[in-house]
């Protein structure tokens, strides 16, 4: 990949952030007038309900083990819900349904949607359920909401996502669990003592959850490294992309563009109002890191991967009539969406490559119609591999059964406010952040169509087209 295209700047070979500092940002944005050259004036269809995003918020995304460390997942979700209540001013009983996405479940609050809703002060008459689909869990929460509204079941739904990696369920070994469960059933003291006596050191080894595929036993980072190698993405390209993500996030944060973030007074600690994982570094610093997964010749490092993050997000989704009736000015229309899935071993993280052309086809748009792209950045190598896959006729024909490539999204429209690499990636919460960011960027940049795409464990993927609400 040519360096200038990667950086989204017109200047050849020179990083547009000017070396190590982030002060000199100048991004040339294309301010396209509405509906000038689009394939379609709008994606509104007669007989299909318009569904809108009223607003979206999120807690600051923090590296796990930092300020949120002593909370529980529903605390984060609760904060996002309260933030949404405050931001939208919606009455606590005007919502018909609440859906949350999460990946690693706290067993005490396995339906975290319900616990968070109750704790956030929503009416206890609002049903809530939790969905899971790895890194696209909150996308699944949102599209479930869209489906309920489209089907006429609901008019106003809150969807969100939460992930809390500061504390994960670490289990006793199966042997130990079996002994402990038998202990419950043992009737006599003798039987209990015999069971206790059967405990051996091997019983005591705990079971840790791993970010690994169940089917292939491969960790995601390892798969990402193989993917980068398969597409010939170099270490340098990955480090450059990661640096871009952090630099853009820093700028967005400094310029106050991340307006979806709501402050959080953490009990016993300070008010948190900013994401804390944004750290623009230098290429030299990043080059020093050793590969994290494939040793010694791998290319994926801690610096060009997303990190373990705590955070929650929430969006308010309504039918357009309902939103207007309640006096809202919606932010965007949620239009077509698709889910895709592929081989969880060799194509684990290629979801966006499969989902993008499919959702464009569904909505009758071309890649050039899209003004704003927000892709989930699991790994720099994964993003760059997807860009290469989308730009390859051979890949489109051989693996996707398409006649030609869809094309690679231009980087001057791509993840301009940072991404999961820099802002953080609470697995269950990222989807809502992507959609809200598209809505905000469309408004800020004056675009009409936005596209969200994400990969997820299990070899799955998702994409959604979002249309700006007329100003």
């Amino acid at each position: 990949m040519e360096v200038d295209r990667l950086l989204g700047s017109g200047k050849l070979g020179k990083p547009f952030w000017g070396g190590n500092t982030c002060a000199e940002f100048k991004v040339q944005l294309l301010w396209l007038p509405f509906s000038s050259s689009k394939s379609k004036k709008t994606l509104s269809k007669t007989g299909v309900k318009n569904i809108v995003l009223v607003d979206g918020v999120r807690t600051p995304f923090l590296q796990s083990g930092t300020t949120y460390a002593d909370l529980m997942p529903h605390d984060l979700a609760r904060t996002a819900l309260q933030g949404l209540l405050n931001r939208t001013g919606i009455p606590k009983d005007a919502v018909d349904y609440i859906i949350y996405g999460t990946v690693i479940q706290e067993v005490k609050t396995s339906n975290v949607a319900r616990e968070a809703a109750l704790g956030a002060g929503f009416s206890d008459r609002i049903p809530a359920h939790t969905v899971t689909m790895a890194c696209i869990s909150s996308n699944q929460a949102m599209t479930t909401a869209v489906g309920m509204i489209a089907a006429g079941q609901c008019d106003a739904v809150v969807a969100g996502g939460v992930e809390f990696m500061s504390d994960v369920p670490i289990r006793h070994s199966r042997k130990m669990r079996k002994t402990m469960l038998s202990l419950n059933k043992a009737k006599t003291l003798g039987a209990r003592l015999a069971l206790l006596g059967s405990i051996r050191p091997a019983h005591l080894a705990p079971e840790l959850p791993a970010v690994a595929e169940f089917s292939t036993e491969e960790t995601m980072g390892h798969s990402a490294d193989r993917l980068a190698a398969a597409f010939g993405v170099s270490r340098r390209e990955q480090d450059e992309y990661a640096l871009r993500s952090h630099s853009l996030a820093k700028r967005a944060q400094d310029e106050g563009l991340l307006s979806d973030v709501v402050g959080f007074k953490v009990p016993g600690k300070d008010i948190v109002s900013k994401d804390n994982g944004i750290r623009p570094s230098s290429m030299e610093q990043m080059a020093k890191l050793k590969p994290a997964f494939v040793k010694p010749h791998g290319t994926v490092t801690a610096a060009n991967s997303s990190y373990l993050t705590d955070g929650a997000s929430a969006v308010l989704i309504m039918s357009e009539e309902k939103a207007l009736a309640l006096g809202y000015k919606p932010k965007a229309y949620l239009r077509d969406f698709v889910y895709v899935s592929q081989d969880p071993k060799d194509q684990l993280l290629l979801g966006p490559s499969y989902a993008t052309p499919k959702v464009l086809e569904r909505s009758g748009l071309k890649l050039a119609d899209i003004d704003v792209f927000e892709f989930h950045e699991a790994f720099a190598g994964q993003i760059l591999s997807n860009l290469k896959a989308m730009d390859s006729d051979w890949f489109a024909k051989t693996y996707m059964g398409r006649t030609s490539k869809v094309g690679s999204p231009p980087l001057d429209k791509f993840n301009l406010w940072g991404g999961s690499l820099s802002l953080g990636h609470p697995f269950g919460a990222t989807g809502c952040r992507l959609v809200t960011t598209v809505a905000h960027r469309l408004k800020k940049e004056g675009g009409q169509y936005g596209l969200v795409a994400a990969c997820a464990a299990g070899g799955q993927g998702h994409a959604m087209v979002i249309e700006a609400y007329p100003q």
């Binding site: 169940f214 292939t216 036993e217 398969a230 010694p296 591999s385 290469k388 051979w394």
Partner: protein, 750 residues
């Protein structure tokens, strides 16, 4: 050969300041990438690379050129063939040699080439993807550094011992130094393949490279490129001293190495290994002892003596009949892995199996493993449950051995449907029945099945003795009926014997062979007749074994006589494994068909055993008693009484140990030759393969036909005539054997 020079233009490298030049030979070429020469090997005439004379010649020329070029600082050696680095030396090259000296010279030339590689001032990195065997492994271990892909196809090994040879190009000298005596002996004496992860642990390779999925090129192509890129980095790393050539050892390994350095420890290992080898080979296979001898020579007297011993022993072994027989089996096995009946019109995508017993479930296991939808049907839930459990257990054992993951096991099992009815049979492409060996039952299921299967569906009968034409007599479409004789345990035994009748269509045969090959079987196709080929050869030998027992030889002695001749399992144990009832049934049926020629031992002895419940291992008692612990097994004490009542007086003229062995083997061999004479067998190759892979005929003898060639038909006939005088027509040599005895120039194998 003349080097053809042309400018390379591999894209993606343009921007880097590489001067690229590509030289092209036919088998070996090289490209210069900066200061690294990448030598690529690919035999244009074969799917695999072998160290043929041409390959060696070109390699020497290329190496000379690379070594002479001062711009080149290091070398990467890689194959451009997917799935194969170098599969070994060219067997034909060795076979073409006429004398020990000639083979020794070949070995010495190989040693010289690899010595140059080992002493190369420019580091050479072997980049291994796929099979790296025999001479290929010896080449790789002569290099300074080895990188291998984690591909399932990557296998490192020294299979020479399986061909009655030894690693003759420095292998016996380098391997012990590299991986230690115990591991080196394990590899060289068993010939087993070492997978990439194990090779890394053993210190056989330095680095592993992941296989890649789809990218901008096919996974295979890109994986090789990636391997090359990593290998180039390694080569530069060695030159820049960033990569250490000495292996990192943990404390345990250091202690082990230290202990191994004492000569009394080494001597202890030699004697242990020698004892083990002698016990297993009964001294019938010369190669393992020679391997130990070569290693010892190198360790005790230094490299010169070691290399000399290696080349001389290699020469000697190549000329042994054992090696020739094993090489013959290798070629035969390759031939029996091809479908000489062509591609069937319809591939088997759904297979239905009737009968979930040992064989039925075994067939199911080897079929689901190849992602073929498999219906396993039985008539009782209990039998079905047991069959399904057998399949699960077979796969789960592989999970325990880590050859498949638990997920793969589950995914494989999802191809299996167990049921009690005929639902889904309308989609079956082939039905294999493995029900009880009874013609009436076979007819019943054939009719039931034909009522539900589609017109193009093949009906295969798994039977050890019933004639296929008799089974097909009940069929509306005899052209679709074929016999498929599997051997138990199906997942372990390599042979499949396919039986065709006059009416079986070529496409039906092609379909059965194709399925067998897909199941990983070595397939022989034989004509229809009582006992087909394998059972027919086995029956007279077992009849003779019974007579030997009646003459007062106990089962243990009988077993030691048979294993002493080279059979992996003794005759008495074999009968117990087979089932005494099955053996009796088989002997009775074949006795009816072939008359007194199949006599000898008294069938009533077996019948009495069956009546008393001594049905072999499955019933806990047979010739031996089987308790929970399989070894050591004792002779069934109640056997003595039964044998006593059928006692025969041995004739001392034909009852020496050697006589007994030849009585057993000659009846087997004569029947095999008769099968060829009668056209049951198409050729001697399939006869040898069937006997070795299905019945355990001593592999070093190469099968009954190779045995006749090597032993001499005249000598065998002479022995048989002595026996004939005592026992009668059971030892009358068949006409074809007599023909060969008369004319020593007539051979079954060229």
């Amino acid at each position: 050969s003349v080097a053809v020079k042309s400018l390379g233009s591999s894209e993606g490298l343009k921007s880097e300041k590489y001067m690229q030049t590509t030289f092209t030979w036919t088998h070996v070429n090289y490209e210069i990438k900066g200061d690294v020469a990448v030598i690529r090997i690919s035999d244009p005439n074969s799917k695999v690379n072998t160290l043929s004379l041409q390959m060696q010649k070109e390699m020497t020329e290329v190496m000379d050129e690379v070594m002479g070029n001062s711009a080149i600082k290091s070398v990467v050696l890689i194959s451009s063939k997917p799935g194969c680095f170098i599969a070994g030396a060219d067997i034909n090259m060795i076979q073409a040699c006429k004398s020990t000296e000639e083979v020794t010279r070949l070995s010495q030339e190989g040693q010289k080439i690899f010595e140059k590689i080992e002493k190369s001032p420019k580091p050479i990195v072997a980049a291994i993807n796929g099979s790296c065997l025999g001479g290929g492994l010896e080449f790789a271990i002569a290099c300074q550094y080895r990188v291998a892909t984690k591909s399932k196809k990557t296998a490192l090994g020294t299979p020479e011992v399986m061909l009655g040879l030894l690693p003759g190009a420095g292998g016996t000298q380098r391997l012990p130094k590299m991986i230690g005596l115990p591991n080196a002996f394990d590899m060289m004496l068993t010939g087993r393949n070492i997978r990439a992860d194990k090779a890394k642990k053993m210190g056989l390779v330095h680095q592993l490279v992941d296989t890649l999925g789809p990218g901008l090129k096919s996974p295979e192509e890109r994986t090789i490129e990636y391997l090359e890129e990593v290998a180039i980095d390694c080569a530069r790393g060695i030159v820049n001293k960033k990569l250490a050539l000495t292996k990192e050892m943990n404390m345990m390994q250091k202690i082990q190495d230290h202990v191994m350095s004492y000569s009394f420890v080494q001597n202890r290992i030699y004697s242990t290994v020698e004892k083990k080898v002698l016990k297993q080979t009964k001294g019938l296979y010369p190669a393992p002892m020679k391997i130990i001898e070569c290693v010892k020579a190198g360790m005790e007297q230094g490299p010169d003596a070691g290399y000399l011993a290696e080349s001389q022993n290699f020469g000697k072994l190549a000329m042994t009949p054992e090696s020739k027989a094993l090489v013959g089996l290798y070629h035969g096995q390759v031939a029996c892995k091809k479908n000489r009946f062509g591609v069937p019109e319809k591939e088997v995508k759904t297979l239905a199996i009737l009968g979930a017993g040992l064989i039925g479930a075994g067939i199911a296991q080897v079929t689901v493993e190849k992602s073929i939808n498999t219906i396993l049907k039985d008539i009782t839930e209990e039998a079905l449950n047991q069959g399904q459990h057998q399949v699960y257990k077979g796969l789960n054992d592989k999970t325990k051995k880590k050859s498949i993951t638990s997920f793969e096991r589950d995914s494989i099992l999802s191809n299996l449907t167990g049921q009690l009815d005929y639902s889904g049979f309308e989609k079956a492409d082939m039905v294999i029945e493995a029900v009880f060996e009874d013609l009436a039952i076979k007819h019943k299921v054939l009719k039931e099945v034909e009522a539900v299967i589609p017109p193009n569906c093949v009906f295969a009968s798994n039977t050890a003795a019933l004639a296929i034409k008799d089974i097909a007599a009940a069929s509306k479409r005899p052209e679709k009926v074929v016999g498929m004789h599997y051997f138990s345990p199906v997942d372990k035994m390599q042979l499949l014997e396919i039986i065709t009748t006059d009416k079986t269509s070529k496409d039906t045969t092609a379909s059965a062979v194709a399925l067998g090959l897909k199941q990983g079987k070595v397939v022989i196709v034989v004509g229809d007749g009582p006992g087909f080929y394998t059972t027919r050869c086995l029956a007279p030998m077992l009849a003779e074994a019974v007579r030997v027992l009646q003459e007062g030889v106990d089962p243990k002695k009988l077993d030691s006589l048979t294993t002493g001749f080279g059979f992996p399992v003794g005759a008495a144990t074999l009968a117990d494994e087979l089932g005494i009832d099955v053996a009796a049934h088989m002997a009775e049926n074949l006795g009816k068909a072939f008359g007194s020629r199949f006599g000898g031992g008294n069938l009533e002895l077996l019948k009495t055993m069956v009546a008393k419940g001594f049905k072999g291992r499955k019933s806990g008692k047979g010739f031996y008693i089987y308790q929970s612990e399989p070894k050591p097994k004792d002779i069934n004490p109640e056997l003595k009484e039964i044998v006593e009542s059928y006692k025969m007086m041995p004739n001392p003229a034909v009852s020496s140990d050697s006589d007994v062995q030849y009585r057993l083997i000659s009846r087997f061999v004569n029947e095999a030759v008769l099968c060829l004479q009668e056209g049951i067998l198409t050729n001697p190759v399939e006869g040898d393969i069937g006997a070795v892979f299905g019945l355990g005929f001593p592999p070093f003898l190469g099968g009954p036909f190779r045995f006749v060639d090597n032993f001499g038909a005249d000598k065998l006939v002479e022995k048989m005539k002595t026996f004939e005088e005592v026992f009668g027509n059971q030892f009358t040599p068949c006409q074809l054997l007599l023909d060969h005895a008369k004319d020593p120039s007539r051979k079954f194998h060229n």
